[in-house]
Symmetry: C2
């Protein structure tokens, strides 16, 4: 048996209405001197209506139809009505490809390039992007690099060939200078979540340092002195910022040997669970642990929730069920990240020469219990 069940419904002739009927239909087309049969090959669908088709039916010129479709004011209400009626009859739909081509060769799509579709954080961001774009009649294309630095340029290349108006990108490759040319050609480029490398561009990032610093301070306030930091492999920038916030807050409190409790995982290195076990097996184990991203938080939940409920725990990135499980987190508005990114792109399209702007999105601590456990 095959992996999936496939069922054919009915026979060919039952699919939709009989296509043979169609071949008898006549396309409204002045270019034809005699009534033409819709398709030479049986089974091919009829053609889409064009501006010219609508114009003919309405008895006006193509340009007039164009004006009506573009909401150009200079059309009499009477002809406008006639045109709209004809358009509706023919199920006319302006071809955005042709429109874009004529208007400078660009589409009305914006690309958002992320590393991984499964990360809920990116999804909320994408939702924000989409909503913001929709208000301007733009469509979002979501593309992924599969978190592989090598595929970034390939993916971006395909998108640029589509003539996306703007490129919102979570940089993954080590160098984005290849986008400089595109930027000059009028494509708005916005780096999201991390700044681009070797490329001056608008950007939106989180207040990462502030987030971990707030978590550390909160833990210090209830008496913790040995605080661990565990982070799954993600990207240098986010890692480092969050680490810096952690270190800085500890230094401010006079704790200078925090490096002992730092566990920054490499790809293919030990898992979060292993890192945490490692930390807790130390001579002077931490009494509290901060995780640097949602993946590490999942690992921490697995390791701590069931066995060590005496260890305080705060995770970066909010997640579903965190409230149900009583996990304190450093949260932020991921959707706002997307909205702001889209807004930067739109502003850039309106003003290609203005100075680049960097927006940072606030982060805050959400106490839910796990972060309020005192040192034992």
């Amino acid at each position: 048996m095959s992996y999936v069940d496939i069922i054919e419904i009915g026979s060919g002739c039952c699919y939709g209405f009989d296509v043979l009927d169609h071949t008898q239909t006549v396309r409204i087309d002045a270019r034809a001197t005699s009534p033409i049969v819709a398709t030479p090959r049986a089974g091919l669908p009829p053609q889409r209506a064009t501006l010219a088709d609508v114009a003919r039916l309405a008895g006006v010129s193509a340009k007039t139809v164009s004006r009506v479709m573009s909401d150009d004011a200079k059309v009499s209400a009477q002809t406008r009505e006639r045109v709209l009626l004809s358009a509706k009859r023919l199920r006319f739909r302006p071809n955005q490809l042709a429109r874009g081509l004529r208007r400078g060769g660009v589409s009305n799509t914006v690309a958002f390039v992320i590393g991984d579709l499964h990360n809920p954080f990116y999804m909320s961001t994408a939702a924000g992007v989409e909503r913001e774009l929709a208000e301007r009649g733009l469509t979002m294309i979501l593309a992924t690099t599969d978190d592989s630095p090598g595929s970034e340029a390939v993916v971006v290349d395909a998108l640029l060939a589509q003539r996306v108006r703007a490129l919102l990108i979570v940089p993954i490759a080590e160098d984005q200078s290849y986008l400089e040319g595109e930027r000059q050609l009028g494509t708005a480029v916005v780096s999201v979540d991390r700044p681009a490398n070797n490329l001056v561009s608008d950007s939106v990032v989180l207040q990462n340092r502030e987030g971990t610093a707030a978590a550390v301070k909160s833990l210090l306030a209830i008496g913790h002195r040995r605080i661990g930091f565990v982070c799954s492999p993600r990207q240098l920038y986010t890692h480092q910022e969050r680490l810096l916030g952690y270190r800085h807050a500890l230094l401010e409190a006079g704790i200078t040997d925090s490096v002992r409790w730092e566990r920054l995982e490499e790809i293919d290195g030990p898992s979060t669970e292993e890192s945490i076990r490692d930390l807790l097996a130390m001579d002077e184990p931490p009494t509290a642990i901060i995780t640097g991203n949602n993946r590490a938080s999942a690992g921490a939940v697995r390791e701590l929730l069931t066995r060590r409920r005496d260890i305080a725990f705060i995770g970066f990135d909010d997640f579903e069920l965190a409230d149900a499980l009583g996990i304190s987190v450093i949260a932020y508005d991921a959707m706002e990240l997307g909205r702001q990114a889209a807004r930067l792109a739109l502003a850039r399209l309106d003003d290609p020469t203005g100075p680049p702007r960097a927006i940072s999105i606030p982060t805050w601590l959400v106490p839910r219990g796990s972060g309020e456990i005192p040192p034992s």
Copy 2:
């Protein structure tokens, strides 16, 4: 202070090159009668290079360049080299819009219309769609209806105006007959997760009944007789199928009054938590509960995990942390759902007149503990 921090980096003149320069530069273009001047910076033209530009630089005709770019075999290795070199120099990128327009007025994008970007289930499906499309050089456009039946037609309309090659849609409106015309015009339509209403189309759905039936049977096998079913509002079809599987399995075991333990939530009705409390407050409360989707599962986790660990619980849809929390679920390969949907669309493009196909994706029970709790 505003909600976000905005920082302007540097002054205007530092952002890329000065646009005033631009107006002085002359585009590399034979149509220009005056001597051709390259751009002041790096020799890059401010305009995008076109086929004609490349052709001129390579000393061939536009068509030859076209052939090279389309990997048309009938070009000598020598001219091919020259063309490729010129293309690289000018950073030429074929305009997919123009290409699509010429080749029948369609783009090379495929739309996937879902209800909600936040649902991880759809995200995995989208990942499957994207991967499958990428192999054919197609791009995915992800659009959302915000789970609002009214916006479906609006969203779809915008996508059709983009001339997407195919439309993969999770139907939300009560009627998809408006797509019949588009199908006939050659747009492949595939309904995902639910069959379309009043429209004959290819479709991919889950084996919903089999999933709940398996869960019920597993619970019956360890002695449960009173089994509850709770489902958050989603869509009639999925609801009903899962409910039918549940009822059928109970009937087979001779349990005919299961309707007492069914809680099918309406929008704005009681929450899952309330439904569960309601069930457990009955005279003869269920000893096991099945949730019909991931949202209901989240509610059940909130309600059961902390207080009532004596109640067996199986959720439909797998979710992150389900393993860490020991939650038994009815799982399936969400990505495969997307892959199959994309494959159906591609097959439909190749053969517009074949019979419609319906694919169903297997579901299976993943025992992790919560579903193996015996009746108390």
